[in-house]
């Protein structure tokens, strides 16, 4: 599962610093809590975990065509 790791404030600060993004003081801890909640919620999506191996993002365009109003 993608979110086995528990994010910490320090890890967030390091991840953003590696991308050149400077965090305001004290933001790392708060961001870590929010990110962990989002990742946990995403990981609990059972439909996502049941996807066939060959499901790809552009498949959404075909789904729109299949589902459109007749």
């Amino acid at each position: 599962m993608t979110t086995a790791r528990q994010w910490s404030g320090e890890a967030i600060e390091a991840a953003l610093a590696a991308q050149g993004i400077a965090l305001a003081p004290g933001r790392g801890e708060r961001l870590a809590r929010g990110l962990q909640a989002l990742l946990d919620a995403s990981a609990s999506d059972r439909l996502r975990d049941a996807l066939p191996f060959d499901a790809e993002p552009p498949g959404f365009l075909l789904a729109i065509q299949r589902c459109k109003a007749r």
Partner: protein, 454 residues
């Protein structure tokens, strides 16, 4: 004739075509109301200094104004930001060009949330936009000025963008009609990007019929937007009368359990009105709006943060603290989580169409599950409960963007504080005509859309 500014867009356009009103009279009426209301609302960030001679077309001479993120060559588009405060566009957006072609007047630029990344209408760079029904309350965002200006009858319609509810929330909070279009229905060329997988453009206007007229003008393929669909554009206005066979899915018990009691009562009353006018109602299990909203958040935060990466590295202090915090969150989302959210999107859409809609034309639910909150409750001083309240504001809109489907919000009542309540219709991809027909049928039987703030 009484104040022409109080006409609907359809009535105003018809009056110009019939020679009963001149474009100058309409523009004068709009400008007179703007002069009166602007100090209370802060709906406009700029007014056009002069009016163009209107061309012929379905919207000839009708005054409109648009969220300040639709570029017009030679004109500033601030996108509600400090960073682009003086940014002059080099080309005109396809949506504005098509409205020009339809003869509409563009009389100004409307306030919005900074970079369209906020659901309330707060803006620390340009000032908050205020709700015309009570200035202490939010307009909803991010198309805040569009909701306020249309509700106060300052303009006959406005373009907004909707990435997580930014057309529907202002429409709901201000008591007007707002259409989130199918992803790819309207070209995004020349409109500020936020999240390419979710961004859509749509109208806010006084009635579903007005939305149909505006959509008819702006919809259709555009080679300059690589994600714009080639789907044919129906005559939305001509299809408004198709209401006899409407089949509407809803989840009454879920609405009663999850929405504010006043909101639930007004929403279910709206369903009853549609049933009385010939629609069939069918009860279905609710979609998993929380799971869908989560995936929408993953996609939106990842894409918005990537879009803003250069400015977040070079000038983070030029963002408001709220928008900077939202953007910071996106940089720590793993690429695999983002791509998994996109991989799952097709399966979620197919499940919604097969399970929730099944044989129905549309799914009915509130536009906003809670009563419209105040600016103080949702602003920088909102306190510990503020994040939860903001999540509630977008709870019933954001999931729709993940699915890419269209949704229409129309007013269906007022709460005990005098703020609007709205109902939302969600349809299949490219089912805008059915949603507009449902909205039109509802507005033929009710007068909530005719109420005007004083």
């Amino acid at each position: 004739m009484s104040d022409p500014a109080l006409l609907s867009l359809a009535q105003a356009a018809q009056a110009v075509r019939a020679g009963r009103l001149s474009p100058d009279e309409l523009t004068h009426a709009s400008r007179a109301r703007i002069e009166c209301w602007q100090p209370r609302l802060n709906a406009f960030v700029a007014l056009a200094s002069e009016d163009r001679a209107p061309g012929p077309g379905a919207l000839s001479g009708v005054p409109l104004a648009h969220k300040d993120m639709f570029y017009r060559a030679g004109r500033v588009s601030s996108c509600g930001s400090k960073i682009l405060r003086d940014s002059v566009a080099s080309e005109t957006s396809t949506a504005l060009a098509r409205l020009d072609q339809a003869g509409a007047q563009d009389i100004g630029r409307l306030n919005m949330s900074e970079f369209a990344y906020g659901p309330t209408g707060h803006n620390e760079h340009w000032g908050d936009c205020c709700n015309p029904w009570n200035a202490d309350y939010i307009t909803g965002g991010s198309s805040s000025g569009a909701g306020a200006a249309v509700a106060a009858r300052l303009v006959f319609g406005a373009l907004g963008s909707d990435t997580g509810g930014s057309v529907r929330l202002p429409a709901a909070a201000c008591g007007v009609s707002g259409l989130k279009t199918t992803w790819g229905r309207v070209s995004r060329h020349g409109a500020m990007p936020l999240s390419a997988s979710l961004d859509t453009i749509g109208p806010l206007a006084r009635t579903a019929e007005d939305c149909a007229l505006m959509l008819g003008a702006i919809a259709g393929h555009d080679a300059r937007d690589p994600l714009c669909a080639r789907e044919p554009v129906p005559d939305y206005a001509a299809l408004l009368g198709e209401r006899a066979s409407l089949k509407i899915a809803l989840s009454s018990a879920w609405i009663e359990r999850d929405a504010d009691p006043e909101v639930a009562a007004a929403t279910l009353a709206a369903a009853a009105v549609l049933r009385a006018s010939g629609a069939t109602l069918v009860e279905v299990p609710p979609p998993d709006v929380d799971a869908l909203s989560t995936q929408c958040m993953v996609v939106m935060q990842s894409e918005a943060s990537a879009q803003h990466a250069r400015w977040m590295r070079e000038r983070p202090g030029d963002y408001s603290s709220a928008v900077r915090a939202r953007l910071e969150a996106g940089y720590a989302i793993p690429a695999t989580v983002y791509l998994e959210a996109l991989r799952a999107r097709a399966a979620w859409l197919e499940r919604f169409c097969a399970t929730t809609l099944a044989g129905a034309d549309l799914y009915l639910l509130p536009g906003l599950a809670i009563r419209v909150p105040t600016r103080a409750q949702t602003g920088p001083q909102g306190g510990a409960g503020m994040p939860r309240l903001l999540a509630e504001v977008t709870r019933l809109t954001r999931w729709v963007n993940y699915l890419g489907v269209p949704a229409l919000v129309v007013p269906c009542g007022f709460d005990s504080s005098g703020l609007p309540i709205s109902v939302q219709f969600v349809g299949r991809p490219f089912a805008e005509a059915r949603l507009l027909a449902a909205g039109h049928a509802f507005q033929r039987e009710t007068d909530w859309h005719q109420r005007v703030p004083v």
